[in-house]
Symmetry: C3
Subunit: 317 residues, 3 copies
C-alpha cells in the first residue's frame, strides 16, 4: 500500500479485514516495522477517536508520533497555483507538504469540507495537494468527502459481529441540528458495496440521496421502516444534501433510530461512527441496550483499521 | 490501586510515601510495567507542572503518552442523563469515556470547578462520570474539589525535609486577586490528617473555613501569627469561601506570607503548590530565601507522586 | 556544549558542521544518549519546521519529547523582578524555569520579538531568563533576535551543495507584507562570517542595514544586481528595519528574487528558511526550478542541526 486515502488504495478489501482481525490478536508483534519511524498527524479539525486511535495504532507498531494542529500550532496554507502570497497565508502547500515529508515517514491528515462549493469539496483540495507535493505516504484521517479508516473499522466490526454469512446492512440517514459532511456515508457505501460479505441498503428522505457515483449499484429505499425489515445491522448517520449542497434544509426528526424501529430488524445491531447526539440521531433506549449497541466495539476497531493500514504502508516502504 | 481520584483510593498513605521515596532513587527500574501501555491525559484546563510531571512519570515507567486538550483538540461533552442533544454538545460522556478507554490503559483528567453551584462542584461531575462510564483506571490530575497528586507530593516533600519526628505543619490561607478553587487545600488537609507523621493546623480569616467534612478533627486558628509559632512547615494557598461559595469578597492582603512572619516559625520551610503570585501570596524575601523555600523540591516530587500512583495502578491491572 | 542559544556556544563551527554531516549518515546510532531523557519544547509562537524537526531530532537520539504551547496549554509568565503579581500573570519565570527543569533534561524554547523596543528585544528577555533560572541546558528554537538552529542548518546545506572551495554566499533582503524579526538574518550573518568556508555579501535597500555589531566586518552592497554577480548561493529573507525599529515602512517589491536575477549568479542555488511567500519574496520561476531551489534540502537539515546540538549537550551532561 502506498497511500491510504480511499478504497482505491486497497488491493483486496475482505483480505485486509481479515488481516486486521488477525492483528488484533497480537497487536504488538510488528513493533520492529515502526522502529525509528515517525508518524506525523496533521489536524485541520477537532478529533477525539481519530486522534487517539491513530496515535495508539502508531505506538502499537513501535512508531514515534508527532501531532500538530495546523492553524493553532502553525499557520494557514496557500493552495492556489501561482498565487501572489501577500495576504494572510504564510506558506504554500508545495513547500509545507514537502517539508513535512522531511521529518515524518507517514503523514496522516484530517480535514473537513467547507460545504459551500460541491465541486471544490469533491476535488479534495487538501488531501490531493498533500498527495501531489508530499514525498511520503499520505493517510486520510477523514477528508472532505471520505473517511476510509472509519469505513474499514466498520467492516471489521460487521465481520466480527455478524451471525449470518451475508448480513443485511442498512445505512440510515438520521436527523441532526447541524449541516454535516458526507464523508462517513460516502466511504461506508463504498466499502460495503465492495465487500463480498454484506448486502447494503441505504435509506434516507427524498432529497438526501448521496453522490450518484458513490451510489451506483446500491439499493435505495425511501421508506425507513421497510428498509429496517430483516436488517442485521443498522448504521445511522446524518449527512447534508448532496443535491442542495451546503444548504441546511428542514430536519425531519422522525428519522431518529429508536428501539421501536429496531424491533423491526432481525435482532439488528446498532452502529454509528460517533460522536452521536443522543435522542436526536438515536434514542437512549437503543444506545443503552447493550445487546444492540456495538458502537464501542466499532470505536475500538478504529485502532486496528489504522494499524493494519500503517502496517501495510510500512511494509511497502 | 484501581483508580486514583482521592485519598480513599490509598490503602496505606505513609507506606505509599515511602514507596515514592524509594522509586525516586531508581526511577527507570519499572519500565517493563508500562511497556505497550498508553497513558491518556485529558485536559479541561491549562496546566504546567501537572502536564509535564505526569508525562514524565509515564515516560519513566515506559508508557506511551497521549495528551489531549478537550475543547480545543476535541469538543464539549454532555453530562446530563437523557438529554436531547440538539444544541452545542456533540458527544455524551457515556460514549466519550468508554471510547477513550478503548485507546488508553490509564486515563488522567484535569478539570476545575465552575465555582457557581457548590453542590454541583462537590459532586465532581466530570471525574465521577469518567469513573462511572470509563472501563479503565481514572487518575485525577486535579478535579473540582481535590488535587490528590499534589497532596501526595506535598507529604513526600515534608517527609524528606522534616527535622523533627512529627513536624508542625500549618496551612495558611493567603491573598489572591482571583476567586480560586478549594481543591488544593481540601486534599492537603485530608492527606495531612490521615498521615501519622504530621500535626496539622489550618489558619484562615473568618469566613474562609474549608468544607466542614474535610476539616473534621482539624485545628483551626484564626490568628495567623499564633498559628505560625513553632511551625516546621508553612503551606500557603489561597482559596475562595466555602460558605459564600463562588463569591469574590474583599481580599485581606495582610495575610501575605513574608520573612517577618516566617521568623516566628521553628526555622520553618515554605511550601506552595505553584504557580504562586509573588508579593501577593508570598513575599520575595521568602521565595528568594533558599533555606526556607522548598517549592521547587515540592514541584519535583510531582513526578514521583504521579509515578508511584501509575506504578500501583499498572501493577494492579 | 552547555546551552545552545547563539554561536558563542559553539567551540568550532566548521567541525560541528562536519559532525552533523556524519550524523546524517547514521542518524539512529546514538539512541543510547537520549535513553530516559526528556526534551521539553516550549512554544511561545507558532512553528512548523522547528516543531517537527526538533521532535524528530529528539526521537532520533532516543529521547522522550514533551511539547507545550505556553499561553494556550499554560499561562502568561511574569519576567519583572520584584513585581507585585496581582494582575494577569500567574507565574514568575523564576519558578517556571526551575520547575520545568525538574521534568525535562533539555529545554528548547521558541519565542519572537515584540518589535517595539529594540533594546528590550536585543536583551533577549525570555531566553536570558530561562538561562538564568533554569537548571538544565537551554536550546533556542528561534529567539527575539537569533535563530541559531536555522543558521547551522544553512551552513550544513551550503557545505553539502557547494561546488567551489569557498563559495560566494549572498544574503539578500526581500520584500514581505508584514514587519518581520531580524532573527534569521542576524544568525545567518554570524554563522557565515565565522565559517572559514564561505565569502559573505549582504545586500539590502538603504535603511535596512542589520545590527552594526552583527555586521562588523561584513561587506554590504546596496545594489542587488551587483551583489548577485558570481554568487554561488542566494539566501533571501525579509527583515524589518533595525534603524527605524518596529516601523513598517514602504516595501520595495522590486527586490523580489526571480529567475532573471538568478541568471546573473554563478549558476547560484536559492535558499530560504521557509515559510516563504511565493511571488512576493521569490518568484515561482525560482521556486519551481529544481536545480536552483535547495530550500527543501535546507529544511531537511533542520533535523540534523538540532540533532547534532542535542547530541553535544547530552554528551556533556
Amino acid at each position: 500500500m502506498k497511500h491510504y486515502t480511499s478504497i482505491q488504495d486497497i488491493k483486496n478489501l475482505d483480505e485486509l479485514v481479515q488481516e486486521a482481525i488477525e492483528l488484533k490478536k497480537a497487536p504488538f508483534e510488528h513493533k520492529h516495522l515502526g522502529e525509528n519511524k515517525t508518524l506525523g498527524m496533521i489536524f485541520y479539525n477537532p478529533s477525539l477517536r481519530t486522534r487517539l486511535s491513530t496515535q495508539r495504532a502508531g505506538f502499537n507498531l513501535g512508531m514515534n508520533v508527532i501531532v500538530m494542529n495546523i492553524g493553532s500550532d502553525g499557520w494557514a496554507l496557500e493552495f492556489e497555483d501561482g498565487a501572489v502570497m501577500n495576504e494572510g497565508k504564510a506558506e504554500h502547500i508545495k513547500e509545507a507538504a514537502e517539508v513535512i515529508s522531511q521529518y515524518c515517514d507517514i503523514i496522516a491528515i484530517r480535514t473537513f469540507p467547507e460545504l459551500k462549493d460541491r465541486e471544490l469539496d469533491y476535488s479534495e483540495p487538501v488531501i490531493s495537494a498533500f498527495k501531489k507535493y508530499a514525498t511520503k505516504p499520505i493517510v486520510s484521517m477523514e477528508s472532505a468527502t471520505g473517511h476510509p479508516l472509519q469505513a474499514l473499522a466498520d467492516l471489521i466490526t460487521i465481520e466480527e459481529h455478524k451471525i449470518v454469512a451475508k448480513p443485511k446492512v442498512v445505512l440510515t440517514w438520521a436527523p441532526h441540528p447541524r449541516t454535516l459532511p458526507q464523508a462517513v456515508p460516502n466511504s461506508f457505501v463504498e466499502y460495503m458495496k465492495n465487500s463480498n460479505k454484506v448486502d447494503l441498503v441505504v435509506t434516507c428522505p427524498e432529497g438526501y440521496e448521496l453522490n450518484p457515483e458513490v451510489m451506483e449499484g446500491v439499493t435505495v429505499e425511501h421508506n425507513q421502516q421497510k428498509a429496517f425489515e430483516g436488517a442485521d445491522f443498522i448504521y445511522a448517520k446524518n449527512w447534508s444534501s448532496y443535491e442542495n449542497y451546503g444548504q441546511a434544509g428542514d430536519v425531519d426528526y422522525s428519522w431518529i433510530v429508536d428501539e421501536a424501529k429496531m424491533k423491526n430488524t432481525n435482532n439488528g445491531k446498532f452502529m454509528h461512527c460517533l460522536p452521536v447526539r443522543r435522542n436526536v440521531v438515536v434514542a437512549d433506549d437503543v444506545m443503552d441496550n447493550k445487546e444492540r449497541n456495538i458502537t464501542i466495539a466499532e470505536a475500538n476497531n478504529r485502532t486496528y483499521s489504522a494499524q493494519v493500514v500503517l502496517k501495510n504502508i510500512l511494509e511497502n516502504s
